[in-house]
Symmetry: C2
Subunit: 509 residues, 2 copies
Amino acid sequence: LGHSQPQHLLRNDPLFEINIDVAGKGSRGSAGAVYRQIKNAITAGRLVPRSKLPPTRQSTRIFGVSRNTAGQVYERLKIEGYVVTRHGSGSYVADKASLPSRRPAQRHRRTSFSHQLNNFWLRPDITAAMGFWMDPPGQSLRQAKTSVIDMRPAMVDSRLFPFDTFRRMSAKHLRALESRPASYKSPQGNQGNFFLRQAIRKHIALTRAVVCEPEDIVVTSGAQQAFDLIARVLVTPGQTVVALEDPGYPPMRVGFAAAGAKLACVGVDDEGLIVDNLPRDAKIICLTPSHQFPLGITMSARRRKALLDFTRQHRAVIIEDDYDGEFRYEGGSLEALRSVDSGDLVFYVGTFSKCMLSAFRLGFIVAPDWAMPSLVAAKNCLDWHCPTPLQSAVAGFITGGHLERHVRKMRAIYKLRREALLKILEEDLSKSLKPIHSNYGLHVAATAKTAVNLERVTELLLRRNVKIHTLSRYFLGPQTSKGLIFGIGTVDVPEIRKGIGLLGKALHG
Amino acid sequence: LGHSQPQHLLRNDPLFEINIDVAGKGSRGSAGAVYRQIKNAITAGRLVPRSKLPPTRQSTRIFGVSRNTAGQVYERLKIEGYVVTRHGSGSYVADKASLPSRRPAQRHRRTSFSHQLNNFWLRPDITAAMGFWMDPPGQSLRQAKTSVIDMRPAMVDSRLFPFDTFRRMSAKHLRALESRPASYKSPQGNQGNFFLRQAIRKHIALTRAVVCEPEDIVVTSGAQQAFDLIARVLVTPGQTVVALEDPGYPPMRVGFAAAGAKLACVGVDDEGLIVDNLPRDAKIICLTPSHQFPLGITMSARRRKALLDFTRQHRAVIIEDDYDGEFRYEGGSLEALRSVDSGDLVFYVGTFSKCMLSAFRLGFIVAPDWAMPSLVAAKNCLDWHCPTPLQSAVAGFITGGHLERHVRKMRAIYKLRREALLKILEEDLSKSLKPIHSNYGLHVAATAKTAVNLERVTELLLRRNVKIHTLSRYFLGPQTSKGLIFGIGTVDVPEIRKGIGLLGKALHG
């Protein structure tokens, strides 16, 4: 075949995508051209530090100069510091640090383009909502990360995750992917008898008494994409009123705000969302009935009934965010709203971020029939579907019983942490703080009994490497209650003792 | 600790999340209550077929009845067909198929809610654009999938992917994830010295001569999310004019349409996008300059210059979709527009769907400085970040040189397929079809020389298990050229011969 190929095919090594403009081939001039062009490519960054240069034996083909000439060019570049040679392995672009005359990377800031940008994404309230978990600007930890006692909510202990098992599942299902021809991947979630959706169905039936068919589930890139998806399917910009708990989970608000919803904040008391305060034109009601975020309240049966009545009467829908419902410690089970409703009012949002790992970015919506075709079409438009290898690995993990085992194990561990926390709060800090009773979850909130400046207290703690949030950052409207929130996801019992001990000192003197 | 726990904690096994309302404890009545409630849970689907029932030895704790009573309840349910026992392993809910009196699952279709739905997602044009790769409705394959010759574009041969190596990378980096404490994951892409973003930088510098820093890259869930993200950041609904190639890649249009852009279709000739036909108010210009989708044309240097001039003059920006630029077979390299521009006009969109696997759902944007903060904030709001295990595995795959090796291997293979395709088109079908010259990519287009009804021809072929697209489905405006498009991603040379042979028969006889 070789003789029939056009000459220029032989000239460039296609993976060496640099224009070498070989004008005067064979002449001494071409050595200079090759030299200048390689040098320019290196200084402009088009040839990356440490990347391998073509072997000189290919120089005729690639540069159009003899091997000898190429050797001279490389030698000159080496002397000038652009190239290094490794014995027996060839020539390489020098390390970034050792390149001559390093200019600072050219950063073009032509702000005249900013007029094109939608100003929503960098609005201070949006940035604050998405960064709710971050340390306040200007405040930073003193020591290395490892010694930090991190009691922020919504975090889990990844050190206790059974990585070996998950790795086995990953490998097994990657192998399965290999043996199948490329096939249609459903935007709704893993195909092949709905593998992941069957597994989710089983998981939530067992742990949450939520009953559905695989057809009722759409797999999302975590709960955050679930909110975005629901908002884009249900919200008419500038028109739809969305009611949200206040205090609440800030990133949930963002999903609806981005779709152009009119947000209405509704307070929470010791029975959960105050249904009487819902605006009558609310068409979407978002809440966390199992374990209110951040207060930890489980919505009462009476309030649930009132909510369902309101929803039916006003032809609204409910978004039930059940982020850590797997972790119930006590109390009779109060079923998910989705279990009580016949299934046409409630969008149930679940996630594997708490019962597995947030880094997997997998969650799901159990949605009413009438909304499913739109949700699936929207998911398709947004990113086709979630990554197949991860979906399969998580499905295998569930189907093999490993998730159930992990949840049982973690529940026992979190339960001990929670009891230790409540005991020490009761024994040492009962003058300052009143824990809010809570049946579920990975955090406990406590309201302040005194007028102490809690922001100051948490600032002080941060300087001692203890991260504890005040409730303030979870309010959108006026802050109706003051207090602290204690995450137990990433701290063991000794750390809890130490952290709360330091809190006591900061509070009392 | 046990004695201090409240009684109700002992009552329910928390993973068995069914309300067992044990009214008259100890009495014969409670056996009936337990019986009814388990039966109801099974028939309502809340207890899933094949799931394990609690062992009778835990019946006091879970149901509040004696072991003996629970045994009687299970026995009755067994007789009635709701429960099966497996010797030595306990009692299980029966198979779905063997459950008594199976009612069809209740599907509630309360269409009165549909008024809440945004009607964009199910619009016929949107559904058609996202389903461009599907068979026409009503037409279906005759035989099993395996015997299909699939020459649709935009598909790759997953059978040739080095799964073993990728599995090794996956496992290795899952192990690394394990040893690190839960840490901040950047929405922009893999943290830890920008691992994946460093790898992408190296990959595109090598294969595409695109120069950037890791700070210029945001990792996305495939190219589709890149379009969605760019659209949501740049488009003012009802106002921004977005120019797109016609024919073009239909799902790209959808991303911008969903954000409320005004779409303007611009024709393509043998030099690429006809810059003179751009509407003067176009603010975003989307195109595929390396390998026009679907025609396969590489945009000429002259046309590229005109495009950049237009863009600067009208303060517009360019979205450069470089979906298969790694696969260049011949011709001098024409650098990416992003390589030519100083970096403030061009959003370069890359994907790992063609050079690796689409199932991984990973792509990226190389974006101008001025837009990066908004893009990162938007990515954060949409789904926080892409899954960490996949990002790390792909980064390891690139850094270890495996992607370069795979691209080299696949390029050689695709090149042979392409040559075989062009040869047989030339030899056997030159009276009917004129292949369009193309330097890059995984497909070749050919225009029709005669007035034959190509839709009929492809319908006929589909019935013979050969999938070949006509150009018609890639047009949004009037169809200015008629022809066929031949994907070489999933077919080997004998399959190409067979497919084109059948095409010849359908065309000529």
